[in-house]
Amino acid sequence: MEVSRAVAAGADDGTSAIPLSEAEFIGRYRQWRDPVYRYLRARCPTDDDAADLTASAFERAWRARHTFRGPTDAYPGWIFGIARRLAVDAARRRRTAATSQVFWPLAPSMLDPADLVSAGEDVKRLAHRLADLSDLQREALALRFGGRLTATQIGAAIGKSEAATQKLLTRALARLKEAYRDDE
């Protein structure tokens, strides 16, 4: 059975030369299901849409598992890359141009009901400010705060270096803070 099968034929750089086994894949699915969903929830209009894409991402990952050759810490960038492409495709199907991606950070289900009253205004203001950011900046923030990814992992998902990603995040946060200052 696959459970007891070790990752064989690993190269010296720690990469896996065989597809993820069933047990390995399931272990990573358990670890990353909710972060992938949180990221996709920021890219989809409803909970159902985000859950559907989450399942699709892991289904696609399972079918394409032979393409994963990285070390263990490369997995988040790989799976979020798949999720991101699915989100872009879904946005396109919703007749939204891929270059003008839509984010949906205001869905009530994203917040505890108790928070809605007290935090409603703050969140609405933050959403307006997010809309002023570039698509790529919003993408990086969704991966950082929804997917809980590091700058390195975000970079792997969006095809940028760690340094460039870090700069992207820093500028996005600085722009949000600046917008707050302008309001005050």
Partner: protein, 320 residues
């Protein structure tokens, strides 16, 4: 606005929670894909090899014990926790000949609170394997102890049976691969490895007193397929005479689990095990365990009278 405050707000904006219902749907789709032998990693040389192996295995099955379909077992997955376990199970795929047929361990799942094994046989009556005692035993390589807790089975129209067996570990199982041996008293023994999903264990040590009884919730273990609470019963001076007290239990979680159906079992050491027939992926949040009544009897014979003692005994605790 400080950077810390801004990041807190972004955490909340992007902190969507996957509901239990949607999580089950996502799990079902993903695990169905993983366990579907027709879904093979496309394009790889290994995929082609595996495809050939699968065809060979399929051919072999025609003359060997039937490997029953993943979906077939859904007819006997009576508890929500079993359904979760089955969706997340891994293939075992071991079979042994027995007198008059063969037995096959199909799939298995293990978390901190439960080991669930699906097996099939070509025998008409699966209980033939259990001997007069009707007991299967499970042991692990580390000497862990298990109590058989539940089971279900069904006969297949064209011969054979499908069966679910569940075992409760005496001590919570740590996460990681564990090697088990399942022995049928009148049949074969199988050794296999399962990846154990961890769980969360807390020790509330809360006591509630009502109706002459003190109940203490000493331990609470949560895992994806089952939650288990351990209660000790202390009979006070003003308690009514009686014996074999069993609680009527209501369990609530303010997280995705919501209200969880419950059962009870009295252990050999006298403690009372309260278990949820469903589990939770994320145990964090506020839990409320309410015992509304204790039900016992007066020990009389032949007219045994039921005694009911009103509570409530309420235990509220938080799991970080």
């Amino acid at each position: 606005m400080t950077s810390e405050r801004l990041e807190q707000q972004l955490d909340r904006v992007y902190g969507a929670t996957l509901s239990a219902t949607l999580a089950q749907e996502v799990d079902a789709r993903v695990f169905a894909a993983v366990t579907d032998p027709s879904v093979i990693s496309r394009g790889s040389a290994l995929g082609r090899v595996r495809r050939a192996v699968l065809l060979a295995v399929a051919a072999a099955m025609l003359v060997s014990v039937a490997a029953f379909g993943f979906e077939l077992f859904t007819r006997i997955l009576f508890l929500p926790g079993w359904q979760v376990a089955w969706q997340r199970s891994v293939e075992i795929g071991l079979e042994e000949p027995v007198d008059g047929g063969a037995v096959r361990l199909e799939r298995g799942y293990a978390d901190a609170n439960q080991v669930v094994i699906g097996w099939s046989s070509t025998l008409d009556r699966a209980e033939n394997l259990s001997g007069d005692g009707g007991i299967e035993t499970l042991t692990d390589a580390a000497g862990g102890r298990y109590v058989i807790s539940d089971g279900a089975g069904d006969e297949i129209v064209d011969g054979g049976t499908i069966n679910i067996l569940t075992f409760t570990p005496v001590d919570p199982l740590p996460a990681g691969d564990t090697t088990y041996t399942l022995s049928f008293l009148a049949g074969p023994a199988f050794t296999f490895t399962l990846p154990v999903v961890g769980g969360t264990t807390v020790s509330p040590n809360l006591e509630a007193v009502a109706g002459g009884f003190g109940l203490t919730l000493t331990e609470f273990r949560a895992a994806p397929s089952r939650v288990i609470g351990t209660l000790t019963l202390n009979t006070l001076a003003d308690a009514p005479d009686g014996e074999s007290w069993s609680p009527i239990v209501h369990l609530e979680h303010d997280g995705p689990g919501g209200v969880i159906g419950t059962g009870i079992r009295t252990r050999d050491d006298g403690t009372i095990e309260v278990f949820g027939v469903a589990g939770v992926d994320d145990a964090s949040g506020h839990w409320t365990l309410t015992i509304t009544e204790l039900v016992g009897h007066d020990g009389g014979w032949p007219d045994n009278q039921q005694i009911r003692v009103d509570g409530p005994w309420v235990f509220e605790f938080d799991v970080p």
